[in-house]
């Protein structure tokens, strides 16, 4: 019998596919592409960490772990969060080990969202935020930030977006795609408003280890914020462990047990070898994190300076591994720019427009690549811009 209807849920049918996909499909068919489109470290996970996972397999640790993750790992995460970001969480009741920060975001959204709840999403941002809010039955209310403020969320913007239905604000600093970092003063102003309106913060701090100019301040560390924050972090970026799929949440007991309910039904637990690897990463991997960070900082400086020289305006991003230069002087949209650059010079970048409001007119360039790749990319982009000079816009 022929199928006469679509079985796909309406809510999913209406979801926009990720805009990054299109460039991936195009770039994947080409040879000799220099990619600044990669959202993950170029470093391979430190050998001692990989070796710890191998060892765990040799010893036969292949069963499920507790739903919330190995207690040894949760203890290490707890020490780490206290030592590094000055926020204390109970390993037994307030930390959940997840399948990447992505799953952490998903359980966070689902645990707090009632139908019709509004979650404020600050754009440009990681592509999954608004879809995850919607899948959880909420409504994503977006705020677009701009280059004039270095893509920092302005307190008055936040104030203006709040309604009686607002449940939470989703923040990501250091930010993907802009690299923008908020310092303590910026965060204090936002925290004031959050407290005043009795809101929750979901803080995606996956890039917290990659803050270059000053140590990262977690919003949960501010007065009265721990009780109204779901912290999301993980091993992918700072520890160069993207493929292991390992993240975690830190949240007050009540919210944690709500998230754990979803986690235990939807996921059971995160991968066991990855959890053993993560214990090693937290116990002995910090010096490797520092050394990768040093390289990233040099590359960031190189990219910002080089882009300035070839005429692409660019604020100095405080963290992550992205620069977000303006391409408005070319008269092209960010999608046109990215497509033409890929076809003509074989450099892959991601158009800012895929990251939401405020992203049009910019491109995201990842500097998680070797210096020689970055040098080559700058050379090609420079040639691309040169060809356009004097051309009628």
């Amino acid at each position: 019998m022929t199928v006469t209807k679509s079985y796909v849920a309406k809510s999913v049918e209406q979801m926009r596919p990720s805009g990054i996909r299109k460039f991936f499909d195009l770039a994947a068919t080409m040879e000799g592409v220099v990619s600044l489109g990669v959202g993950e470290p170029d470093f391979v996970t430190t050998w001692s960490v990989r070796e710890a996972a191998i060892n765990s397999l040799e010893r036969g640790f292949t069963s499920y772990t507790a739903n919330a993750g190995l207690i040894e790992l949760r203890r290490e995460i707890s020490y780490y969060m206290t030592g590094r970001f000055h926020v204390e969480y109970s390993p037994k009741e307030e930390i959940i080990v997840t399948v990447g920060a992505s799953q952490a975001l998903d359980i966070a959204m689902r645990a707090i969202t009632d139908p019709g709840d509004e979650i404020i999403v600050v754009e440009p941002c990681f592509v999954s935020y608004a879809p995850l809010v919607e899948l959880a039955g909420g409504r994503a209310v977006t705020i677009g930030t701009t280059d004039e403020t270095g893509f920092k969320l302005q307190p008055e913007q936040l104030e203006a977006a709040i309604t009686t239905k607002t449940k939470a604000v989703l923040l990501c600093y250091p930010n993907n795609p802009t690299g923008t970092q908020l310092d303590r003063e910026d965060l204090e102003l936002i925290a004031d408003i959050v407290r005043k309106h009795d809101l929750l913060v979901i803080a995606d701090e996956i890039y917290a280890e990659l803050a270059y100019d000053q140590p990262h301040t977690s919003i949960a560390a501010l007065d009265g914020m721990r009780e109204r924050t779901i912290l999301i972090n993980g091993f992918s970026k700072g520890f160069a462990m993207t493929g292991w799929r390992l993240g975690f949440t830190c949240a007050p007991k009540e919210i944690s047990s709500a998230m754990l309910k979803i986690h235990q039904y939807a996921m059971m637990c995160a991968s066991t070898p990855a959890q053993y690897a993560a214990i090693e990463a937290l116990q002995h991997g910090m010096s490797d994190v520092e050394s990768m960070k040093k390289d990233y900082r040099q590359r960031r400086n190189y990219m910002v300076q080089s882009f300035k020289e070839i005429g692409l305006d660019c604020h100095l991003p405080g963290g992550a591994f992205y620069v977000f230069p303006s391409i408005q002087s070319t008269g092209l949209t960010s999608e046109q720019f990215a497509e033409q650059l890929l076809l003509e010079e074989k450099v892959a970048v991601v158009p800012g427009s895929v990251f939401g409001e405020g992203g049009e007119g910019y491109i995201r360039c990842s500097y998680a690549s070797s210096m020689s790749q970055l040098q080559e990319a700058v050379k090609r982009i420079s040639r691309f811009l040169e060809k356009r000079k004097g051309r009628a816009i």
Binding site: S35, E40, K294, V350, M371
Partner: protein, 166 residues
């Protein structure tokens, strides 16, 4: 000699890859090109930067017969000059590529490069062990080079990340 943060950073960059140009290093660490060039010149002059060379994997060459030996040398130190005098007598030989004073059961670790095993054998028996201060030698030949100066010789790591990711 006290080095500042930027000088250390320049040295670390060049130690990883000596071919970085001053103009790029300048962008990486936030100095002007002239400042970087001047700093490098000074570090060369002070012999903090000793030399620039290329790591070559000679094993790739067909019919390459060269051999490298690491020799543990026990010596009798001399009053007044300690180990320095005998170390100098050893490192002056052009066959010798490195000499280190070591803690532990022997005193000097000497690396010798030669065209053949015979050549090294001759060097050890005729030149090295006949020195007055040398008490004994133990020679180890290198069979294969896996990693040298932080670089892995055997395999090349490929970037297998997907080209565009969120």
């Amino acid at each position: 000699m006290k080095l500042n943060e930027k000088e250390v950073e320049i040295l670390e960059i060049l130690q990883k890859d000596a071919r970085f140009e001053a103009t790029d290093i300048a962008k990486m660490i936030g100095l002007s090109e002239a400042e970087v060039a001047e700093t490098i010149r000074r570090l060369e002059e002070e012999k903090v930067i000793v030399h620039y060379a290329t790591l070559v994997d000679w094993a790739k060459m067909d019919n390459y017969t060269g051999v490298t030996a690491m020799i543990d040398v026990k010596v009798t130190p001399k009053r007044g000059v300690g180990f320095d005098e005998v170390a100098e007598r050893i490192y002056r030989f052009k066959e010798v590529s490195s000499v280190y004073l070591m803690s532990g059961v022997y005193d000097l670790s000497v690396t010798v490069e030669g065209k053949s095993m015979n050549e090294i054998a001759r060097f050890v028996s005729e030149k090295l062990s006949t020195l007055d201060s040398v008490v004994s030698t133990t020679t180890h030949f290198q069979l294969k080079k896996y990693k040298h100066d932080g670089m892995i010789y055997t395999t090349k790591l490929e970037d297998n990340r997907i080209v565009v990711s969120p």
